[in-house]
């Protein structure tokens, strides 16, 4: 009778989308997946920033280059991430970290280059002239005047790039790189809702959290926009 009762209980349990018992027993795995997710995202946005900064400066100095640079990164952006991940496969391997990071960095480029350019362009000529009048060299002008003034736009780019990348990392799990997408795929493969739901909910929570956090940074470094809204 007791067996039957527990059997009924298990059957009821099977209907629920999240077995908290499973979650408790796999907290380590969930933590690892979350850490991997953050790590993959941080590497991609970090490298993306390092790569896009020189391109943006190049495009600004030589205006003729800005068209091709933006167009090239725009085309890249039109190609679905899942396709790009596998198109790189024959070159860099179908399950390699390198493949995943190349794809992730590529997607951050358009966002970051455009935002850096927009930010630098938005510095008014009066400000530039005043700085030159005070005797600042080209490099000093860039680092002491233009970059600080462009910072809100650059941070806005980092924000969009980060949130986008968090979503892309979920898909990159298809290339066996772990992360929260790994939990989702595990759940799909075993037709077991719990890891699928946990992975999905954490991915959304992470993206929303990163978005709000970077929005806070964006607001904090550009106090003049706060009063407007």
């Amino acid at each position: 009778m007791e067996l039957l009762a527990s059997g009924t209980l298990a059957a009821n349990d099977a209907d629920s989308l999240i077995w908290w018992d499973w979650v408790r027993r796999h907290l380590d795995d969930i933590g690892t997946a979350l850490a991997q997710h953050i790590q993959l995202t941080a590497i991609a946005v970090g490298i993306g920033l390092l790569v896009s900064a020189p391109f943006a400066l190049l495009a600004r100095r030589y205006r003729v280059l800005s068209g091709p640079i933006l167009a090239a990164s725009g085309v890249l952006y039109t190609i679905p991430s899942i396709a790009l991940l596998y198109l790189l496969g024959p070159i860099t391997g179908f399950t390699s970290l390198l493949t995943v990071e190349i794809a992730l960095v590529s997607y951050t480029l358009l966002i970051l280059i455009r935002n850096i350019l927009t930010g630098l362009d938005s510095v008014s000529d009066d400000v530039r002239e005043a700085a030159r009048g005070m005797g600042l060299s080209g490099r000093q002008l860039l680092w002491r005047v233009e970059v600080p003034l462009a910072l809100p736009s650059i941070v806005a780019g980092i924000r969009i790039a980060t949130v986008t990348t968090i979503g892309l990392v979920t898909i990159a799990a298809l290339l066996s790189q772990g992360g929260l997408g790994g939990l989702i795929l595990d759940g799909i493969n075993r037709r077991f809702p719990t890891p699928l739901m946990i992975g999905s909910l954490l991915a959304i929570a992470l993206a929303v959290l990163a978005d709000l956090l970077l929005l806070g940074v964006q607001r904090a470094i550009s106090p003049w926009t706060r009063s407007r809204r």
Partner: protein, 247 residues
């Protein structure tokens, strides 16, 4: 490349034309539902000037949603997650709605107030104003939103295969299951080509439907509109593509 050159892969229920048709069905059905839901609602909100905060921020929220997570949750919360296309379509609709709502709303709100007043002065009713003045003037922005959403949905429809549905993602998922790299690569290539083609078609539609944009030297007008949306969305300098998460 072997996979694509084999004529056997170009016919039958698992052939490339069938998979493309399935992919376009998922995309088309999702976009149809999304447009029917989002555009009338946003047109009305823009017309009466209400719900602006919501309409504008919906695309910010939408961008933060990882598409695989969205598909995953919809497949579990809705019935028949693995044996019907509808949970997938519902997730794709959720993904497509935000850029449509934001662009339509901003498009209507951005119509010159003088023009609206002139139209009212000519005796146009609210409905006439919306249909004859606001909608045509908002059209370029609405189409820009449609393009963003569609590209997004074409890309994400690939993931339907994970939930046992059709579409070009089948080649990637099946290829992975059998470690057939030539099939995976072919699937990826087909998805990429389809996405680029759809983007080109949408860009052409956007251009042809907006005489204003044509007059203002093609693509640049679109850029300006995107910048306008960004100005309203309060996202200085963002690309505003709203290519939500993962394309």
């Amino acid at each position: 490349m072997n996979f694509l050159t084999d004529p056997a892969h170009w016919r039958g229920p698992e052939g490339i034309p069938t998979r493309i048709a399935e992919h376009l069905y998922l995309t088309g059905m999702s976009m149809l539902i999304a447009v029917l839901l989002a555009v009338p609602l946003a047109l009305w909100l823009g017309h009466v000037g209400r719900g602006g905060f919501l309409a504008i921020n919906t695309s910010n929220i939408g961008r933060a949603l990882p598409s695989l997570a969205l598909l995953g949750i919809f497949s579990q919360v809705l019935p028949h997650g693995y044996d019907s296309a509808w949970p997938t379509i519902a997730a794709l609709v959720a993904l497509a709605v935000p850029p449509l709502v934001t662009n339509t709303y901003v498009g209507v709100r951005e119509v010159d107030r003088d023009v609206v007043e002139a139209a009212q002065g000519m005796g146009l009713s609210g409905g006439q104003l919306l249909r004859r003045v606001e909608l045509p003037l908002a059209l370029p922005l609405i189409l820009a939103g449609l393009r963003t959403s569609t590209i997004n949905v074409v890309a994400t429809a690939t993931l339907a295969a994970l939930f046992a549905q059709g579409g070009l993602g089948r080649y990637i998922v099946d290829g992975q299951a059998t470690s057939d790299e030539s099939q995976i690569f072919a699937g990826a290539l087909l998805v990429a080509v389809l996405a680029v083609l759809v983007d080109l078609v949408m860009a052409a539609v956007a251009r042809s439907a907006s005489p204003l944009a044509r007059a203002q030297r093609g693509g640049h007008a679109m850029e300006r509109q995107v910048v306008r949306v960004e100005a309203m969305v309060g996202n200085p300098g963002g690309p505003g593509e709203g290519r939500v998460g993962d394309r």
